[in-house]
């Protein structure tokens, strides 16, 4: 038996910052602000899914999404593709591509109809640089009284292409997560670990290694080549029907130039018939050192000293641009039609001192540490 379903979002975003782009994930090359005054690329997407039930226990799933890709194209990519074997009502194993359960809304984040907001808060949801895994997962549900718990474990690898030509590779990537549901309360705990390589930064640190022992020492500290990433997250949602309160916190450490960051948000909304106005506060802090003296250029011959200074500048620009920001968002969801909602959201983001926050494509004249106003309108559907 085959079941088809689809979802999508048609959205447009305006940013007050004209010298940088705001976008919604780490894989998009541009967005609202510098590239487009009003960008349809931040949130718009369409996805389709087929599930084939092969036997009562075995099923196959494929979900493809068309959205702005790393190279600006809209060629559909496969988001999920796996075979699932359901051993019992409470235990299953999937083999293939799965989306990682890092946060409360990670696995369903593309189906904006299921979220209260236009998009999950960027502060927390930008914390983990990987979002899917080719390998598999297992799921085991436990029931005791009114408490239902679902343990999920994932293991796999992932390769992704980044805007500007770089690639990201994650190896030995695993997750263990627990989702606890008790009446109106849902809680989610996650630990995730993997070894990551970011190719274009690795090239930069290759240049450091030509400066002997001091260059090697810097590269050993900062080169994101097969380096351990760890993430711990905890979140909870209370939703008795007419209102909701959601809070999530996470901390990630990538043993490289990208360092350590911690983020959280809290959001509340109230349902008035078909309208659900909401208010969210989110914060992201980079907690590693933001500068490094780098190579000692004074001990080098003039020709090499110039190169060393250039490399030091590149290193410090990466350390200095670690995302740090706070956002207050206010918006509303309107359930316009059966299966269709319309959302309007205003975000006011204060960038941390010296930081561009999560903005990309920084242009000459861009001021760090400023304030950015975002205005978003989105129509979401499921079918």
């Amino acid at each position: 038996m085959l079941s088809f379903s689809a979802f999508g979002t048609l959205g447009i975003v305006h940013s007050s910052e004209e010298r940088a782009d705001f976008t919604s994930n780490l894989f998009k090359p541009n967005g609202a602000g510098y590239t487009h005054a009003w960008s349809p690329d931040v949130d718009s997407k369409v996805g389709g899914q087929i599930i084939a039930s092969l036997t009562s226990q075995l099923s196959a799933m494929v979900q493809a999404i068309s959205e702005q890709n790393y190279d600006g194209s809209f060629t559909p990519h496969v988001e999920w593709a796996n075979l699932k074997y359901q051993f019992t009502q409470d235990a299953s194993v999937r083999v293939g591509r799965i989306v990682l359960p890092s946060f409360l809304f990670s696995q369903s984040r593309n189906v904006a109809y299921t979220n209260p907001w236009v998009r999950p808060p960027s502060e927390l949801y930008s914390l983990v640089p990987v979002d899917s895994s080719d390998g598999g997962d297992f799921s085991y549900a436990l029931h005791s009284g009114r408490v239902n718990q679902t343990w999920v474990g994932t293991y796999g690898v992932t390769d992704s292409k980044k805007p500007g030509g770089g690639t990201g590779k994650a190896r030995r990537l695993w997750t263990i997560s627990d989702t606890i549901e008790a009446g109106s309360l849902t809680a989610h705990l996650t630990y995730q670990q993997g070894n990551l390589t970011i190719s274009n930064l690795h090239t930069l640190f290759g240049a450091f290694r030509r400066f002997g022992a001091q260059g090697d020492a810097l590269a050993d500290t900062y080169d994101p080549y097969n380096r351990r990433l760890t993430f711990f997250g905890a979140g909870a949602m209370y939703d008795p029907g007419s209102w909701f309160l959601i809070g999530e916190w996470g901390t990630s450490e990538f043993h490289s130039v990208l360092g350590k960051s911690t983020a959280w948000y809290a959001s509340t909304g109230y349902r008035l018939a078909k309208l659900t106005p909401y208010l969210t506060y989110g914060q992201l802090r980079g907690t590693s050192n933001r500068s490094d003296p780098g190579l000692n250029a004074s001990s080098l011959p003039p020709a090499l000293a110039g190169r060393a200074t250039g490399l030091n500048t590149a290193l410090n620009s990466i350390l200095g641009s670690i995302a740090d920001q706070k956002t207050v968002s206010i918006g509303t969801r309107w359930d316009v039609l059966k299966d269709v909602d319309l959302k309007v959201q205003y975000d006011r983001t204060r960038l941390g001192a010296g930081s561009p926050g999560t903005l990309i494509n920084l242009q000459p004249g861009f001021q760090t540490g400023g304030t950015v106003n975002l205005f978003s309108v989105a129509i979401d559907f499921v079918w």
């Binding site: 379903s5 999920w80 499921v382």
Partner: protein, 142 residues
């Protein structure tokens, strides 16, 4: 005396979860051949939201829905789960698009519910009280 009973009504309405007063005529039912006689509102809600797949006695539970857009369905979910049609849609979209399950099978009317319940003692459904007959058992809520 009248004021006191009015206050009691207001207080119970304020304290009740998810507005159960509006849907007094929707009842949860199983086949009269089923061994299940009582289920709490929370247990019924968890079966219909796909959070549990068994009755408290361990038997498999097969929820059957009324058609989307039907008044019985909207009233049932509001009363038992506190969810509006859009919230229910979002609940299932989250499950479907993460490959974790499918919503209950839906049928167009109450006679279809009764027919499916008669054919399957594991099935559980809901009906307007006026549509209840001897083929089904109304679940007692402790």
């Amino acid at each position: 005396m009248k004021i006191r009973s009015l206050l009691a009504t207001v207080a119970s309405a304020l304290l009740s979860v998810g507005g159960n007063a509006a849907a007094a005529d929707i009842v949860a039912v199983v086949s009269s051949a089923s061994a299940i006689t009582e289920l709490s509102k929370a247990q019924i809600s968890e079966i219909f939201l796909g959070r549990v797949s068994r009755f408290p006695n361990g038997a498999l539970a097969v929820p059957i829905d009324q058609e989307e857009g039907s008044q019985a369905r909207d009233e049932f979910y509001l009363a038992y789960t506190g969810k509006s049609p859009a919230q229910l849609k979002a609940h299932w979209a989250k499950i479907v698009f993460t490959g974790r399950g499918q919503p209950p099978k839906a049928v167009p009317n109450s006679s279809e519910i009764r027919r499916l319940l008669a054919a399957n003692p594991q099935a559980i459904g809901y009906l307007e009280r006026s549509a209840v007959d001897s083929s089904v058992r109304v679940l007692i809520q402790p």
